[in-house]
């Protein structure tokens, strides 16, 4: 393939001024949750960056993540960056269809070092037949795509942790990208998880921008999430936190506390245990986030959030602690009854073997 132009070259070719580039870099820094002083570093990095190839694979998902991204309010910074990257395959978005689309994917995979974006989990039961594209199972497609990939970004909770498809009873055997790698079902590559159901669009683009700008994986937490967006809990950054600290809780969704915007902890808010940027980045062009609208966080960027108990049960109340109760009771009864038979047999044997004690038995 011919040498891809650097981003700076491309911008210059489009007649974009250095001032505009500076503005772009400042906005990009903000987007990537970097301090404004990083703008020159971004400018320098972008000056050297060549257009990388990107393949976007949509698997067992609801298209919410793509919707989130494409409906995002800022078709500027991100789109600029996307303009810079070559989105060679996006099953949902691309104009090409059928054989032509699959051809595009295969072409893109010829040159190693591309970035793979995945949204949706991957079904594994029954050979993965529960989700196929053009007759190819998701599992096979991911395996092929990862062969020569530089890294993979799991967009959305489904791709990152299995999400709703993996929720109990998980009929399709859905798994996350990371889980497939851990099980050796697909080639191991660096993974960036961008969970959320859906993820905040600027977080998606921010993570991509970071990778594309600096060409490296950002710092990740233990769940593979970039700490720049997922480093703090919703609770830590929540504007209602002072109410929590003072023990001022809304008890129902229509009581005095709810109207006054008190903490939603007791109404099941999962903010204390959820890591995401909602409280700072917010949604809908920075308008608000769920807690600001009066609803607790449901913890959608955490693994297994769907199975972690009711969204409306306080964190201090347990999820579903009696699922083992019946089997434990039965097992306990089984051991107990077993022991009682063994004990009765032993005692019975001692009794039937009883030799009547005589005076002789009192001394050795």
């Amino acid at each position: 393939m011919s040498r891809r132009p650097t981003v700076a070259e491309q911008l210059a070719r489009q007649g974009v001024s250095r001032r505009a580039f500076l503005k772009f870099c400042a906005a990009a820094a903000s987007l990537m949750a970097l301090p404004p002083s990083m703008a020159p570093a971004i400018a320098e990095a972008l000056g050297k960056l060549r257009r990388p190839s990107v393949i976007w694979l949509s698997f067992q998902e609801c298209t919410g993540c793509t919707e989130s991204l494409t409906r995002s309010h800022t078709p500027t910074v991100e789109s600029l960056i996307f303009d810079m990257i070559s989105l060679d395959y996006h099953h949902t978005l691309q104009a090409a269809a059928g054989t032509a689309a699959e051809q595009a994917r295969e072409d893109a995979m010829k040159e190693a070092g591309y970035l793979v974006l995945v949204d949706g989990s991957i079904p594994t039961r029954d050979g993965g037949i529960y989700s196929t594209i053009a007759g190819v199972t998701n599992l096979q497609m991911l395996k092929d795509a990862l062969a020569n990939a530089a890294a993979v970004v799991s967009i959305g909770t489904c791709a990152a942790y299995g999400g709703i498809p993996k929720a109990d009873p998980n009929p399709t055997g859905a798994k996350s990208v990371q889980a497939l790698m851990d099980e050796g079902l697909v080639p191991r590559k660096p993974v960036i998880n961008v969970p959320g159901c859906p993820p905040i669009p600027t977080v998606i683009t921010g993570v991509l921008a970071h990778y594309l700008t600096f060409g490296e994986i950002p710092e990740l937490d233990s769940l593979g999430r970039p700490t720049m967006f997922y480093g703090d809990s919703i609770h830590d950054r929540c504007y209602r936190r002072p109410f929590y600290d003072q023990g001022m809780f809304a008890k129902t969704f229509d009581d005095e506390g709810a109207r006054k915007g008190w903490c939603l902890f007791e109404l099941g808010c999962k903010g204390p245990t959820t890591h995401n940027a909602c409280a700072t980045t917010k949604w809908n062009n920075g308008t608000s986030f769920p807690i600001e609208s009066g609803h607790g966080c449901i913890g959608c960027s955490e693994p297994d959030f769907w199975d972690a108990g009711s969204f409306y049960t306080a964190l201090s109340a347990p999820a579903d602690p009696l699922t083992l109760a019946t089997s434990a009771t039965v097992a306990g009864a089984a051991i107990g009854v077993g022991m009682s038979f063994v004990n009765r047999a032993k005692k019975g044997a001692a009794k039937s073997g009883h030799e009547t004690a005589t005076l002789k038995d009192l001394e050795k």
């Binding site: 201090s316 009696l322 306990g332 009864a333 009682s340």
Partner: protein, 219 residues
């Protein structure tokens, strides 16, 4: 594992496992103990008012004459910490919420200030009985590792619960997780240690009361 994962684990799978082991152990142990049976008493009974197994179950909660003076710390400390535990466990609003969540049963809670006080008093009483166990020759003589271990697993849930509520030392999430974890440890070890007396003491009192009631002695 971060504190959130810990919390999610303790209130999810952890609690499930703990309650499972607790139920399994309790039922197993109850069968094991009470299936040993006992012989019927063939002697002619004597009937006396106030002598029965049920009477003894109630009566043994009170100190017999002279005993309070002989071992005041055992009785006063014992009463305070048992009653305190009952208050803290069953009359603290979040615990009632939890019980309602599990079984659909609910009752009025005590104001949290009262529960706070009960917690502090309970902790103090528990420390007192521990000191007594170490200081008093008989108790020290009888004590095994198990006695100190069971003291600790009873003490920790109260302590961590108090620290979580009061936001002491560690962040709420971490403390809450540790609190639930300590309760789980308590649940897991209860059927297999002397803590099992919470169940067996009623039958023990009944056996003793019933056998002596047969002789017409209200014990």
């Amino acid at each position: 594992m971060n504190e959130v994962e810990l919390l999610n684990w303790v209130r999810g799978p952890g609690l499930n496992i703990a309650i499972g082991i607790f139920l399994l152990g309790t039922i197993w142990r109850l069968f094991e103990i009470y299936s040993l049976g006992r012989k019927k008493d063939l002697s002619a009974p004597r009937h006396t008012a106030g002598a029965s197994g049920w009477n003894t179950i109630a009566r043994r909660s009170l100190a017999p004459p002279g005993m309070l003076k002989r071992s005041p710390i055992s009785y006063i400390g014992g009463y305070v910490f048992h009653v305190g535990l009952a208050i803290v466990v069953f009359l603290f609003a979040p615990h009632i919420e939890l019980i309602e969540n599990l079984f659909g049963l609910s009752w009025p809670a005590l104001p949290s200030q009262v529960v706070d006080l009960a917690t502090v008093v309970t902790l103090a009483a528990m420390v007192l009985v521990l000191v007594d166990r170490i200081n008093k020759p008989v108790k020290r003589y009888l004590s095994t590792v198990e006695d100190y271990f069971t003291w600790a697993v009873t003490f920790l849930p109260v302590l961590t619960g108090y620290m979580a509520v009061k936001h002491l030392l560690l962040p709420y999430t971490t403390m809450l997780a540790l609190h639930i974890l300590s309760v789980e440890i308590l649940l897991v070890v209860l059927p297999f240690t002397k803590l099992f007396h919470v169940f067996t003491l009623f039958m023990s009192r009944w056996y003793n009361g019933q056998a002596n009631a047969h002789k017409g002695v209200p014990v």
